[in-house]
């Protein structure tokens, strides 16, 4: 009798533990597997490598120590509050601007802050114009605004550099043609990096902000107007504060992306100040010290990670606090648009339009570069040729990079989809201790700079695999493929996971519960009922993850470059961009391939999912 009681009590206790941890009332294999696989995958391939790096960075002479951090923070090379260099150099032919040198760490922070500021200014302005006003040509704006989203690593920054040379198109127009500038201005170095990043990342702010604006319950603005508010006051007190979560999300992502970007510093590396950024320093040291587990690199990577995590943590806290679940009831949703006043027309066509056109010049430049023979001494490219494109198609030694990239990205997407569906399902449907952890882990890779993952993987795989294994980066038979697939699957998971999470949120849990109540297993209910309902979200997210995986740089040009025959196309593009000037055309041709892939993905997902476009956001 007593033992029977005891087992009942024990059973009840077990069940309670199950419920607390997983949020499931009964033992359910499918649910538990759906917890364990994503958790294990992200733990092994993200947390452990980062921990490995932490260990290296905090060890000195075999003991825990802050030595490497102290050493970094005490060097003027890394932090120099008194800047080196001058704002500009006035040479006889032109004015040269490359930025001040505050040391590697401060440089990275300053660049990221300026980029964020600039991108936010441009992104919010454009989002407001597109949200509020109807004007002739608006649909053209809408299409143009997608163009800066097309990623062409290295080459877009390279084109920005071409544009701002003393004989580039910028000076050709403003100095030679119009004559506003008394002397040509040559922009390079950190300032060049800043401009290249700002025009590459402002669409992230634009899209997040635009989505926030569109989500504002129109009656909130109407009520303010009805109480007498109008114009700028309305914008300042109602519209902007309501869109703030979206603006903040876009700005933070921009900050993180700028901080972790390696493409622009590499494209501008000929100005040595552009090398004085954290990412470039890690990369540079990685190249020169391969084979050696450098604690200094690890420490630098930890600092980069910390900065990025800090930004990420702030925004997550802020956005979840301020997530205005719009409390609409009985209101009708429509977007409040107005016709601009005459002076607003003037602003739209003389300031906003040229600005948008300016921000798509990198992509136009990439295409021009891809199809031209020469573009070095003239403001515009010369000599049309199909040679570069046809070489990609015909030359097996070039073609294989494209094939490698597609293979790796595609395999990574398969992993991403399986893990994202499991993770989003359990974190959405169950309320256990683990649910929010799973959810957070799927978004977490957004906050981890690519170069940090690259270094972490290098140390991790070098230490856990046998010396001669194909997975060991130090072995002669090393094949970077599997590691790249894992890296892509971790780094690009958030896009798919968020999209699926949003999809599952739209489907009421009672749909599966009804199926289970009628005798179906959870597995069958999820596969037969939920998955078909969220197919569009899966597809949209997978598409986005795919194009971002194709254009991944940090891991590709470090670990991927260790064995060039198995390298992805971005690794080859890097090689081309840093070698002799003429090879930039080939890099641009590869960039053109990436553009083509991205446009196909956008068109495909627009047709299939009927959404206007998928985009990145943290919500």
């Amino acid at each position: 009798m007593n033992t029977k009681m005891a087992t009942v009590v024990k059973k009840v206790r077990h069940r309670k533990i199950l419920e607390n941890i997983f949020g499931i009332p009964h033992f359910d294999l499918f649910a538990i597997v759906s917890y364990v696989i994503p958790l294990a995958y992200i733990f092994i391939f993200l947390i452990v490598p980062l921990a490995e790096m932490l260990k290296i960075a905090f060890t000195y002479n075999g003991a825990f120590s802050l030595h490497w951090f102290k050493s970094i923070f005490s060097q003027e090379f890394y932090i120099s509050p008194k800047p080196q260099g001058s704002l500009y150099v006035d040479t006889p032919q032109y004015i040269y601007v490359e930025g001040l040198d505050f040391g590697v760490i401060l440089n990275s922070l300053i660049v990221a802050m300026f980029v964020t500021l600039l991108a936010t200014l441009i992104g919010v302005t454009l989002a407001y114009v597109m949200y509020r006003y109807t004007f002739p040509g608006k649909s053209i704006f809408r299409v143009l605004l997608i163009v800066p989203l097309l990623m062409t690593p290295f080459v877009n920054a390279y084109v920005v550099k071409l544009i701002f040379r003393e004989n580039g198109i910028f000076n050709w127009i403003l100095h030679d043609l119009i004559g506003i500038l008394p002397k040509p201005i040559r922009i390079d170095g950190l300032v060049g990096v800043m401009i290249a990043q700002a025009i590459a990342y402002y669409p992230i702010v634009y899209l997040n902000t635009y989505a926030s604006f569109v989500n504002i319950d129109p009656s909130l603005e109407e009520q303010a107007e009805n109480l007498g508010s109008r114009g700028f006051k309305l914008l300042r007190t109602i519209t902007l504060p309501l869109a703030l979560p979206g603006i903040a999300a876009g700005a933070t992502l921009t900050f993180i992306f700028s901080l972790e970007d390696l493409g622009a510093p590499i494209a501008f590396h000929s100005a040595s100040i552009a090398k004085k950024l954290i990412t470039y320093q890690i990369y540079d040291k990685f190249l020169s010290e391969t084979g050696y587990r450098s604690p200094e690199i690890a420490a630098l990577a930890i600092i980069l990670l910390a900065l990025s995590l800090l930004a990420f943590a702030l925004i997550r806290k802020y956005v979840s606090l301020r997530q205005y679940a719009m409390m609409s009831k009985g209101g009708r949703w429509y977007v409040r648009t107005v016709k601009p006043k005459w002076w607003q027309y003037v602003i739209i066509y003389t300031i906003v339009l040229p600005l948008v056109l300016f921000t798509i010049t990198p992509q136009i430049g990439v295409i021009l570069l891809a199809f031209s023979k020469e573009w070095s001494r003239t403001p515009y490219p010369r000599g049309f040729t199909l040679q570069h494109i046809s070489q990609i198609a015909l030359d097996p030694s070039v073609r294989r990079y494209v094939i490698n990239s597609i293979t790796y990205a595609f395999t990574a997407i398969l992993i991403i989809v399986v893990i994202s569906v499991m993770a989003s399902y359990v974190s959405n449907r169950f309320r256990g201790v683990l649910s929010p952890i799973v959810e957070a882990l799927t978004v977490f890779p957004l906050a981890v700079p690519g170069i940090v993952i690259a270094i972490g993987y290098f140390y991790f795989f070098a230490s856990i695999t046998p010396k001669t294994s194909v997975l060991n980066p130090l072995s002669v038979s090393f094949n970077p493929g599997p590691i790249l697939i894992i890296a892509y699957s971790i780094r690009r998971m958030p896009f798919t996971a968020r999209s699926i999470y949003a999809g599952i949120q739209q489907v009421h849990a009672s749909l599966e519960e009804a199926a289970m109540n009628l005798g179906s297993t959870r597995w069958r209910a999820v596969m037969g009922i939920l998955v078909p309902l969220i197919a569009m979200n899966v597809l949209g997210g997978a598409m986005l993850s795919f194009v971002y995986a194709m254009s991944e740089t940090s891991v590709s040009i470090t670990i991927g470059s260790l064995e060039m025959s198995k390298a992805p196309m971005t690794a080859y593009m890097r090689d081309l961009i840093v070698s002799a000037a003429g090879s930039a055309h080939m890099a641009a041709a590869l960039g053109f391939i990436l553009i083509a892939v991205q446009i196909s993905a956008i068109i495909l997902s627009t047709i299939i999912t009927k959404q206007r476009y998928a985009f990145i956001g943290i919500t």
């Binding site: 319950d217 909130l220 107007e225 109480l227 007498g228 508010s229 679940a325 009831k329």
Partner: protein, 355 residues
Amino acid sequence: MITLVTVKIDRVVKRFGEIVALKGVSLEIKHGELFTLLGPSGCGKTTLLRIIAGLEYPDEGRVYFDGSDVTDLKTYERGAVLVFQNYALWPHMTVYENIAYGLKIRKIPRDEIKERVKRALELVKLEGYEDRYPTQLSGGQQQRVALARALAVQPKLLLLDEPLSNLDAKLRIEMRSEIKRIQRELDITVIYVTHDQEEAMALSDRVAVMNFGVIEQVGTPREIYQRPKTKFVADFMGKNNILPAKILEIKNGRATLEVLGHRISGIPAENILGDYSDLYFSIRPEKVSLTPFEGAQAFEGRVDLVEYYGFFVEIVIKIKDVFFFVRVPDLKEPLKQGDNIKVYFNPRDVILLQE
């Protein structure tokens, strides 16, 4: 300081694509009147109110305040303050900030703003809620904040779109007396939208009954209740018996009808609203009695249900497969289902209506 406002709506038409939400609506609302727009869901009440507020532009017709055309004025130029059906509370502002917003726009001094917010919260019985955010309030509390926000600016014309729909029955009755009191006290014009006929009757100086974008009747609650002009109004305003009828003859200003196989005579011809074909007989349940009296007409049927409401008893009677409702203060002897019953009414209480 506060000027009274008259509102004139002249043949206003509003289309949303295929849907014609308002089909030529004309109305005149007097100074200091509490005027109610009453009608079923989707009949165009909100649309009309939004046109008056200046949030919607009519496709045809004009709107006048105090005789001057305001059709082209923006909502912020009209001073007609609207309480939205969905409250429209700003989620990024506290209750205090929400209520103070309109006062700040009007450049009211700080101390006075404090005072007015306090008073507005007292009026809606939400003292002490200043620092809450709208998401931390229940639906009914949110609705009262929306009301307070409008009252605080002391508008000359107040537009209320179902402002009490989310309150419990007791609070709703209290708040509607409060609205009436405020309207008297501030001497303002109020246009009040509701689909609750009881609320409309209790509150209004005059009521406009709307249906499918058309105003069916305008009048005092009493007029509308007692002399509905259309079958729709008769049906919508309280419980009513509406039965198809045929005029047999009219003699000396009195009509004789056939209703459900009964011959009913002595109905005053002035109670025939509309022309003489396709008519409906209507009589309120409380105008019917169980005891005969001088000059009464009668129906015969069987008892179907007896429902006890407290201050009256409703008897549902089946006459030839049609339900007929009778309300009496009390029953002298119990009735059983299936009992034969005869009910009596005065032919002067009968109104004949058209579809």
